[in-house]
């Protein structure tokens, strides 16, 4: 057994007649940045949704370390230390940036109905700590201090991305899944984000799996790349080798180019 923080073993997901992911093996190694790439509809996000528990695989297993999380609920998986962002940012639009990040702390907090009503000292402390932590995370991702208490709907696209990453980091993950973090960014912003991903990995001792379309980002920061096409894994390995793989070129550019 390797000590992969998260691993998919022969996972398959079938929607009706469509096999979105077909027997894919994927392993994220400790401390690495790995990328999943592939054309639109290749099954990348479906794979992410299985890793985080939003979808239950039709067959195959998902392991978190030694633990089988195939049938675990998303909130349980988050509590076990897996956090994610979404391709089309999914913040809570009417909440402030700070409140959004405090939601990320939810699984590390305990107050229930009675705790919330009667507010014993430990609840106040927990709440204060969550608020401070939210501020720290937002500072870490580079959100300007005067935007902390603005509703996220009123933030710019780039800032929303930052808040979403801060929200994921607030849950104390050891595995971070980023679904197209540079979508909609210009080249300069993308390069900035790529640098930031490495910084997060190093400072937080995280293992990061990302779905990415921007090849510059993928080649620049990934230790390993996995390529999906039509739900199947067609190549895997270090970025330079994958780029030369005729099957990958074919998947992206069509048969004639290969």
């Amino acid at each position: 057994m390797s000590d992969a923080p998260i691993r998919a073993e022969k996972v398959t997901k079938v929607f009706g007649g469509l096999t979105a992911v077909d027997g894919v093996d994927l392993e994220l190694r400790r401390g690495e940045v790995a990328a999943v790439i592939g054309p639109n509809g290749a099954g990348k996000t479906t794979l992410f949704n299985m890793l985080t528990g939003l979808y239950r695989p039709t067959s195959g297993r998902i392991r978190l370390g030694e633990r089988d999380i195939t049938r675990a609920r998303p909130d349980q998986i988050t509590a076990l230390g897996v956090a994610r962002t979404f391709q089309n940012i999914r913040l809570f639009p009417t909440m402030t940036a700070r409140q959004n990040v405090m939601i990320g702390r939810h699984s590390r907090m305990k107050a229930g109905v009675f705790g919330s009503i009667f507010r014993p000292p430990w609840v106040n402390r927990e709440e204060r700590e969550a608020e401070e932590r939210a501020g720290e995370e937002l500072k870490f991702v580079g959100l300007k201090a005067d935007l902390l208490d603005r509703t996220t709907a009123s933030l710019s696209y780039g800032d929303q991305r930052r808040v979403e990453i801060a929200r994921a980091l607030a849950s104390d993950p050891h595995v971070l899944l980023l679904d197209e973090p540079t979508a909609g960014m210009d080249p300069r912003e993308s390069a900035e984000l790529a640098g930031f991903v490495l910084k997060v990995r190093d400072e937080r001792k995280l293992s990061i799996l990302l779905i990415e379309h921007d090849m510059k980002v993928v080649m620049g920061i990934s230790d390993r790349v996995t390529v999906l096409d039509h739900g199947e894994l067609i190549a895997e390995g270090d970025p330079a080798a994958v780029r030369q793989d005729p099957k990958v070129i074919e998947a992206y550019l069509g048969r004639s180019a290969a």
């Binding site: 949704n49 979404f86 939810h106 109905v113 705790g115 507010r119 849950s171």
Partner: protein
Amino acid sequence: MSAALGKIKGFDQRFLVIAAILFAILLPFFFDRGSSFMDDAVLALAYVVMALGLNVIVGFAGLLDLGYVAFFAIGAYTMGWLGSTFYSQANGGEGVHLLVTGAAANLPGIHVNFLLVLVGAIILTTIAGVIIGLPTLRLRGDYIAIVTLAFGEIIGQVAANGDQVRIGGIWDKTLGALPLIPDLGSEATLTRGKLGISPVDKIDLPFVDPFTSLDIRSWYFVALGLVLIVLFVNVRLRDSRLGRAWVALREDEVAAISMGIPTVKTKLMAYGTGAALGGMSGAFLGSYLNTVNASQFEFIFSIFILAMVILGGLGSVWGVVIGAILLSFVNSWLIPDVLNGLPGQLGLDFDLTQVSFAIFGFILVIVMILRPEGLIPERSRKQEMHGIGTGDRAGAGSDVELGEAR
């Protein structure tokens, strides 16, 4: 600059709240102890408690509940069962008396102190809230409404036909055989249908004379006390980990569950809490109205309470208070006492009370057109209603279809 403004605003709000509470405490001293205004005021306060309870479910957690009357019924029946001569054969006809004084202490039937009844009502309605919550967990929006509506109807039917359900035999063989739990006698039924359990024990508090129906002032203060408790619960829950989680679930369930919010547990907490508050009010009303009667528990009552919440502003604690007081007074004073003769004066052959729910519907339509977020909107609802921020989500390709998420 904006921080300073916020401070002034916060101060203003605190001042307003204190002023409103003082006003509510002093108000009864300007009216006769038995006046009809006091009667209307007590009803209004009881409805405020219910509306604030429903606000937890519909306003905070965004779960459209059309069967809230069920919790009124269960709370009221708890009062009826534990505070009347209804089970007159209980304990071999000698009755059961627990911490009661006054007339009730010598009557047959089960008579339990109001505070204990309140606790019992809270426990029973919380359980009922969780039971109604369970089947709706996989549902969304309109479908939740349908299931809760059905649940309200079921409870209403059980109340109406409960006079045919003899629980005495089974009860005495099982629970009645246990120590401390009285037997009920073989004639005992579940409810008394449309005849109603009546009279119901008056509220009996320690250090205070037992209440009477002539002195409404003391009822008023108990109702006000319940309102203050429920207000406190609402405000505390709103500004807590749980309150945040409810907003998150309401706005984006997939994101919420992915951020570690357990949907099942969090939603059930909303149902349970909201139900418990409705049960408190139900027990109070059972005693105050002096009858627990199946005709009180009809669908229209759920809509009445929901209308208060919507009128005031979904999720807005102070808005809901205002909404409940307004609609309650429209119902118990404006329509029957002030405007009732209006159709007659116009040469029409009906009383306004006959169409009171049409009037409520009309009020709601007007509110929806002019001020869809309610009279005193909650901040985030206001944004939702005016399309700020949520528009993007509806249009964008979704990562996850909700039917698939679990």
